[in-house]
C-alpha cells in the first residue's frame, strides 16, 4: 500500500547561534544568524522516509517563506524526499496563515498522511498541526513518539514508529503524554506531529545533496492558493530570560545552612 506523505520544513534559527532581542523588543537581531530546518520537522521527514521505505510511496516537503527556505527544502530533498513545494511569501505571517497555506497544498497534493513538527524551535507556538487537521476535517495524532530508545536496534534499523494497518487504511501512533505513552489509532488521511524521541534523523548523504539539485521545487503563492495571510497574531513583547545573578561565596558551612534556611527557604 504505497503512501503519499506530506511533511514540512520550517526555516528556523540554529540553536547554536547567539540570539539577541532587537532594540524594539518585539523581534530578534537577524544579522549574522545561522539557519536550519526545524529539528521537529526533520524528525517528520525521517519518519516519512522510513514509512515510504517500508510501504512504498512518495514524500513531498513543503515550506512557506522567502526564497531562503530553498535551503531547508533542499536539505529535506537531500535526505531523500521526492519533491518540494515552496509557498512563496516575503512578509510576516502567523500560524493561521501558514496552516491556511498548508491546507490548500494538501488539497492539491492529496497526501494520505501529513507529518509536522509538534512545534518549531524559533517561537514554540505549537499550533499549525492542530489547525491543519481541524480545517481539513482529519483526525490528528499529536506528539508522536515510541517505546524503543534512540539507541535501540529498531532505531538503528530505521524502523518506522508509526504503524500502518495491513489494509493501509489506518495508522497507529504512540503519543507522549504526561508521565507515559498513549497509543492511538486513526483512519487515514490524518495529521501527525512529532516529538523529539520519535527518531534520530539521518544525515543528508553527500550524493543525496548532489541529487537534490535536480529534484523539482514547485513555486506557489498564498494569493494563487486563495489564502488570506493577513497577520492576526502579533508579538507585542519579547524578552530574554533573566540573566543569572552572580553567586556569592559563604565563609563556612554554618553560614551556608543559615542562608539556605532563612534566605532561600530551601531547608
Amino acid at each position: 500500500m504505497p503512501l503519499k506523505i506530506l511533511v514540512t520544513a520550517k526555516r528556523v534559527e540554529d540553536s547554536e547561534s547567539k540570539i539577541k532581542v532587537d532594540a524594539a523588543g518585539t523581534g530578534i537581531v537577524k544579522e549574522g544568524l545561522k539557519y536550519k530546518i526545524n529539528p521537529f520537522d526533520e524528525i517528520g521527514v525521517e519518519e516519512a522516509l522510513r514509512l515510504v521505505a517500508k510501504h512504498g510511496g512518495e514524500v513531498v516537503v513543503v515550506s512557506v517563506g522567502t526564497k531562503d527556505v530553498h535551503e531547508q527544502l533542499r536539505h529535506a530533498l537531500a535526505m531523500g524526499a521526492n519533491k518540494a513545494v515552496w509557498v512563496h511569501h516575503d512578509g510576516p505571517i502567523d500560524q493561521l496563515g501558514i496552516a491556511g497555506c498548508l491546507q490548500k497544498v494538501v488539497e492539491k497534493e492529496k497526501p494520505d498522511l501529513c507529518i509536522l513538527g509538534k512545534q518549531a524551535i524559533d517561537d514554540d507556538q505549537g499550533q499549525v498541526g492542530q489547525y491543519l487537521a481541524e480545517w481539513l476535517g482529519w483526525a490528528q495524532a499529536t506528539f508522536a513518539s515510541k517505546e524503543e530508545s534512540l539507541e535501540s536496534e529498531a532505531e538503528k534499523a530505521k524502523t518506522p514508529a508509526i504503524q500502518l494497518a495491513a489494509d493501509g487504511k489506518s495508522i497507529t501512533v504512540i503519543r507522549e503524554v504526561d508521565g507515559g505513552l498513549l497509543t492511538v489509532s486513526s483512519p487515514l488521511p490524518a495529521v501527525a506531529t512529532t516529538e523529539l524521541r520519535l527518531n534520530q534523523p539521518r544525515y543528508a548523504s553527500l550524493p543525496g545533496i548532489m541529487k537534490a539539485k535536480s529534484k523539482p521545487i514547485e513555486e506557489l503563492t498564498p494569493a494563487g492558493l486563495g489564502v488570506d495571510v493577513g497577520v492576526k497574531l502579533t508579538v507585542t513583547k519579547l524578552a530574554p530570560p533573566p540573566a543569572r545573578k552572580a553567586g556569592i561565596k559563604v565563609p563556612d558551612v554554618a553560614t551556608l545552612v543559615d542562608k539556605l534556611k532563612n534566605e532561600a527557604k530551601a531547608l
Binding site: E31, Y203, L206, P207, I209, M210
Partner: protein, 612 residues
C-alpha cells in the same frame, strides 16, 4: 550514540572564504570533468560533513585515545564506536565525494575533498586514518592496476566495503625504503608468494570492514638491489575470487601492536606475511620492478593528507584556545596591572595571549590557503589535461612543488602550535579535561610518517626545485612577483606586500647557493640547509597567500555596509596577513643570512665530541 563529548571546532566561514572567495571555486567547478558542481552544493556538503564530524567522529576522539586498540584472538579490536562511525561515514558518502564515478564516487573536485578531509581528520585524527589509508591504496590500484584489478578492488575499497593499508616500512627500511627485504616468489599460475615482516603498519588489521587489502612493497625473486628492484603487491587479508567473493584466510598475521604517544585509536601493527608459507598476492599492474613510481604516487596523496592532518588539529586547537581565552578570568587589565581593586579580566584581554592567538590564527589560515592552493592546482590540471597541455603542465608542476611544503611545514607547525595552544590554556591545557593535550600528542607523528621532514626537504631541494629544468620553480617565483607588482600600492596592505620582494629575493639566493654548494665541493651544506630552505619557502608561500587573502578581503569589505556581520571576518583576514608579514616573513631574510654563513659545525664535530 555519543559516548564522549565532541570538542572539535571548525570555522566554516573561513573554509568557504578560502575555497570560494580566495581560490575561485566557481572558475573550475562546473567545467569539464567537474560539470554539475557549484558553490551552493559545495557549501551544503561542507556543512553536512561538519555536522557528521561533530556528531559522529568528534565524540569518539577522546574515547579512541583512552581506550586504544587491542589484539583479541589474533584480530585487532578498534575502540568502541569506530565500527559504527565507519558505517555512517560511508553511508553518508563523505569519503566518496572526489572518487571517480566509475568507482562509485561523485567525481567531485579534490579541493573540496581536501576541506572535507580537514573536517574528518580534525574531528578524529586516529579514526580517519583507517578510511584514509583505504583510499590511498585504492588510488594506486585505480592508477596502476590492470582492468581486472580495478574492477575487483577499487569500488569496494572506495566505498568502505573493504579497507586497505600501505605496507612499506620494515625493521631495516624506514626512511630508506630501498632496503626492503620482503620477498615475493612468482608461482606457476602468475601469483606471488610473499614472505617478510612489516612494521608500523597503520590499520594493519581492524574490525571495520569485511576485508583488508594490503599493498605490500617487496622484492621479486631475482630483482636488482635498491629502489629499482621494488614491486608493489596486492595482498588481501581474506582471499577473494574474481567476483569478489571472500574465500580462505591469506596467511597475514598481526604479530603485535605498538604502544604510542598519540593517535592511539589507530592500530599501528607489526605484520607478518607468509609465516606459514601461504601468503599469496598479485603484482599491481603487469610488470615487476615498478614499485617505486607507484609508491611515489601513493605517497604524494598521503603526504598531502598528512599536511591536512596538521592543519586540521591546529585549527581546532586554535578555536578551542580562543573559546577558553574568552572565558577564563585572570589578572587585571595590563594598563592597570598594579591595581588590585580593578575587576579581573578574561585572559583574552592580555596582549601576550592575543599575540599567541593571532599567531595561531595566521598560521592556520595561511597553511589552509597553501593546502587549498595545491588542491586547486590539481583540479585545474584535471580540467585542462588534454585541452591545454601547457597550462595543465604548469598546474601539475605546482602540485609537485608544493607537496613537500604542505607535508612538512603543516606538520612541524602543528606540533609547535598545539604546544602553544596548551600555553594559552595554562595549567588547564595540560589536563585531559581539555582537548589540546591530545592534539599535541596526536600531532607529533605528522612530521615523521610518510617521510620525515628532512626527507621532504631533500625531495624539495634534490628533486622539486630543479624539476622540469626549474620551470615549476620559476613559475612559482613569477607568480609571487606578479602579485607584488599588482598589489604593492595597495592602500592598506601595500607596505606589507612589498616585504615579499625582499624575502623572495633572499630565498632565490639561497636556492642558487644550493647549486653552488653541490657543485663546489661543499655538498654537506645542502642537507645541512635542507630543512631551512623548506622553512623559508613555506613561510614565503604562506605570507604571499595570506596577503592575497587580505587583498581580497579588503575588496569585499569595501562593499559591505557598516555594522554588517561579515565585516569582522574580513578585518580578521587583514590582521592575519599583516601579522604574518611583519612577524614571520622577515625571518626568511634572516634565515638566508644564516645559510650564507656556510656553517658546517654539525659535520665537522667528531662523533666523540658530542659526548662519549
Amino acid at each position: 550514540m555519543s559516548v564522549g563529548i565532541n570538542r572539535y571546532k571548525a570555522d566554516l566561514r573561513e573554509l568557504c572564504f578560502v575555497l570560494f572567495e580566495q581560490f575561485g571555486f566557481s572558475e573550475y567547478a562546473g567545467k569539464g570533468c567537474y560539470e554539475g558542481w557549484d558553490e551552493a552544493t559545495a557549501k551544503a556538503i561542507l556543512e553536512e560533513t561538519y555536522r557528521i564530524a561533530r556528531e559522529v567522529l568528534g565524540p569518539l576522539n577522546s574515547v579512541g585515545d583512552r581506550e586504544g586498540c587491542k589484539v583479541v584472538d589474533g584480530r585487532v579490536k578498534t575502540p568502541k564506536g569506530f565500527a559504527d562511525a565507519w558505517k555512517q561515514l560511508f553511508e553518508a558518502g563523505v569519503k566518496q565525494i572526489a572518487v571517480r564515478k566509475e568507482f562509485g564516487g561523485q567525481g567531485g573536485p579534490y579541493s573540496l575533498y581536501a576541506l572535507i578531509e580537514e573536517l574528518t581528520s580534525g574531528a578524529n585524527t586516529a579514526f580517519n586514518m583507517y578510511p584514509g589509508l583505504a583510499w590511498g591504496a585504492a588510488e594506486v590500484i585505480a592508477e596502476f592496476g590492470t582492468e581486472a584489478q580495478k574492477k575487483l578492488f577499487c569500488q569496494r575499497m572506495f566505498t568502505g566495503q573493504w579497507g586497505g593499508t600501505m605496507c612499506l616500512t620494515e625493521p631495516n627500511a624506514g626512511s630508506d625504503v630501498g632496503s626492503a627485504v620482503t620477498k615475493a616468489v612468482k608461482q606457476a599460475d602468475g601469483r606471488y608468494k610473499l614472505s617478510g615482516t612489516k612494521i608500523f603498519i597503520s590499520g594493519g588489521d581492524h574490525d571495520l570492514a569485511e576485508n583488508i587489502v594490503h599493498l605490500v612493497l617487496a622484492r621479486a625473486e631475482g630483482a636488482p638491489a635498491g629502489t629499482k628492484g621494488l614491486s608493489l603487491f596486492i595482498v588481501p587479508r581474506v582471499r577473494v575470487d574474481a567476483s569478489g567473493k571472500l574465500g580462505e584466510l591469506n596467511d597475514v598475521q598481526v604479530a603485535s601492536l605498538e604502544h604510542k604517544m598519540g593517535i592511539n585509536g589507530s592500530a599501528t601493527c607489526v605484520m607478518n606475511f607468509g609465516e606459514s608459507g601461504e601468503c599469496y598476492g598479485e603484482l599491481v599492474g603487469a610488470a615487476e620492478n615498478q614499485g617505486l613510481p607507484q609508491m611515489f604516487r601513493m605517497m604524494n596523496g598521503a603526504r598531502i593528507a598528512v599536511g591536512i592532518q596538521g592543519l586540521a588539529v591546529t585549527s581546532s586547537a586554535y578555536l578551542n584556545a580562543l573559546e577558553y581565552a574568552k572565558d577564563r578570568k585572570q589578572g587585571a587589565p595590563f594598563k592597570q596591572w598594579k591595581d588590585p581593586s580593578v575587576p579581573r579580566v578574561a585572559i583574552l584581554e592580555h596582549p601576550d595571549v592575543r599575540r599567541m592567538l593571532l599567531e595561531l590564527k595566521a598560521h592556520v589560515e595561511g597553511i589552509r590557503a597553501l593546502v587549498v592552493k595545491l588542491a586547486v592546482h590539481r583540479d585545474h590540471y584535471h580540467v585542462l589535461a588534454g585541452r591545454d597541455d601547457d597550462q595543465a603542465a604548469y598546474h601539475q608542476g605546482q602540485v609537485d612543488l608544493l607537496t613537500p611544503l604542505v607535508k612538512a611545514y603543516a606538520s612541524e607547525e602543528a606540533w609547535r602550535l598545539c604546544g602553544q595552544a596548551i600555553q594559552i590554556f595554562g595549567g588547564a591545557g595540560f589536563l585531559k579535561d581539555w582537548p589540546v593535550e591530545q592534539y599535541a600528542r596526536d600531532s607529533k607523528i605528522f612530521s615523521i610518517y610518510e617521510g620525515t621532514t628532512h626527507i621532504q626537504s631533500m625531495d624539495l631541494v634534490g628533486r622539486k626545485l630543479g624539476q622540469s629544468g626549474g620551470a615549476n620553480f620559476t613559475a612559482f617565483i613569477g607568480d609571487i612577483n606578479g602579485f607584488v607588482e599588482a598589489n604593492k600600492s595597495h592602500p592598506v596592505l601595500g607596505k606589507d606586500v612589498e616585504r615579499l620582494s625582499g624575502a623572495a629575493e633572499a630565498f632565490m639566493q639561497v636556492a642558487m647557493g644550493l647549486m653552488g654548494w653541490a657543485q663546489g665541493g661543499k655538498v654537506e651544506l645542502v642537507p645541512l640547509n635542507g630543512n631551512r630552505v623548506l622553512t623559508m619557502m613555506s613561510q614565503l608561500s604562506v605570507a604571499w597567500l595570506l596577503l592575497d587573502a587580505g587583498v581580497k578581503a579588503e575588496a569585499a569589505l569595501s562593499k559591505l555596509p557598516a555594522g554588517h556581520a561579515d565585516r569582522a571576518f574580513y578585518e580578521g583576514k587583514r590582521y592575519s596577513a599583516q601579522w604574518f608579514a611583519r612577524n614571520v616573513l622577515p625571518n626568511v631574510e634572516h634565515l638566508a643570512k644564516l645559510a650564507m654563513i656556510e656553517d658546517a659545525s654539525p659535520v665537522e664535530i667528531s662523533d666523540a665530541a658530542f659526548a662519549s
